[in-house]
Symmetry: C2
Subunit: 245 residues, 2 copies
């Protein structure tokens, strides 16, 4: 028996997120079926990040255990032959049998893309949030700076979440404008439920001038979800990378 | 009666190209139906560029004649409310009643995107050509330089084409690498049938070392379609802009 680690990329458009569920196809389900078909065993992957419905990934991580004689490094090629086009394994390798993708120190990077122009662009529509109103990038960058470092992010956590410790560290939170595409890149040691999308929704309030940049600090200090902006829509978000420390 | 000019962008994935046809939905057909519904007249647009099935556009151009009292500049807003998400009008304005989008001096810009890496990326798959084999960008740039200027591009024209004069001018043909995405940007005063895709298919032969860069000149001089490479797939191609001189 060996444990195989996969780096998994997917277009979340047609999936009800990562995690197995009754109503609709998920990435986890397609992976389980595809790997089971390849190795001839009943496979249940363990994923690192249970991305929400519609969220994309370039570098999510999953492991599974198998007795297959296919070399672990070749699993990526073999699986990509069988997977639908909207899921691709970027890398496969063997890891220690007790290595777990969630119970490790990690740094995750997310990117949220906002298309800021008068009319939407059809070829960008699936992978960005279209936003008509002009955005003040400098104000968004100022507001973002308040979130960098170790903070209690309770205000930026979905009220439905049951997690007790809401302290996390953000290492960087960059707001980058390239033409009419704004990329919000965020890297941290862990993210609460909907945290990135709520941060983005709050930055949009700052960008339109509805909140002054300094208000970000008050929102953080309040530790109250009702103070922050709404969560931004899923399709603008991509899980870029998970680094294991 | 007034003539309204539209700048039209679309995701070509789900269309059988621009031009009306029996077997499948086209961009022209959707525009005709949508504009007719808005203005309450039977509308038939005239398009500048009849893009092939699967090709995308950021700035194709079309005109139509109408008695509608909707201001021409507001047509874009009104149409975008009714159009499917994969077609968007970027601009609308009134033009002279004899202005024709095809019988004018123009410069068109196309972009062809090649994703050059080990495995495909799901979120790029609809708008780029995935190419596994490593590409020599310098060799591609050298080969591309032979095509800039006024030349007879008969070798780069689909043999099915009936056009007599195959002389065209290419103003620039840039091969730009950004990470694992290669953008081929081509600007000229006119393009023969499948010309951009055949040029890209030939540049791919150069990039893999199958043709030396200098071979591009021999292909050009031969004036024979069989000398050039195969046409690259449609989904990598986007009509970026049409400038009217």
């Amino acid at each position: 028996m060996k444990r195989v680690k996969l780096i998994v990329s997917y277009d979340g458009t047609n999936y009800c997120g990562w995690q197995l569920q009754q109503n609709g196809v998920t990435v986890e389900e397609v992976l389980n079926k595809t790997i089971s078909g390849l190795v001839g065993e009943e496979i249940a992957v363990i994923g690192a990040s249970r991305t929400d419905s519609g969220v994309h990934a370039l570098g999510n991580v999953a492991v599974f255990d198998t007795n297959s004689r296919i070399p672990s490094e070749k699993m990526s090629f073999a699986l990509n032959q069988r997977l639908p086009e909207d899921i691709r394994i970027q890398h496969s390798c063997e890891v220690a049998s007790d290595w777990h993708p969630r119970y490790c120190d990690t740094r995750k990077t997310y990117e949220y893309r906002i298309l800021n122009r008068k009319f939407s662009v059809p070829t960008e529509r699936l992978y960005s949030h279209f936003f008509y109103y002009p955005l003040d990038i400098k104000a968004m960058q100022q507001a973002a700076a308040y979130l960098v470092g170790e903070h209690d992010f309770k205000s930026f956590c979905s009220a439905r979440s049951q997690v007790e410790n809401t302290v996390r560290t953000i290492y960087f939170l960059d707001v980058i404008k390239e033409g009419d595409m704004i990329r919000i890149r965020i890297n941290g040691n862990g993210f609460l439920y909907n945290m990135v999308r709520i941060i983005v929704g709050t930055l949009l309030k700052v960008g339109t001038g509805m909140y002054p940049p300094e208000h970000m600090k008050e929102i953080l200090d309040a530790k109250d979800r009702r103070m922050a902006g709404p969560k931004a829509e899923a399709k603008g978000l991509t899980l870029m990378e998970i680094e294991y420390l």
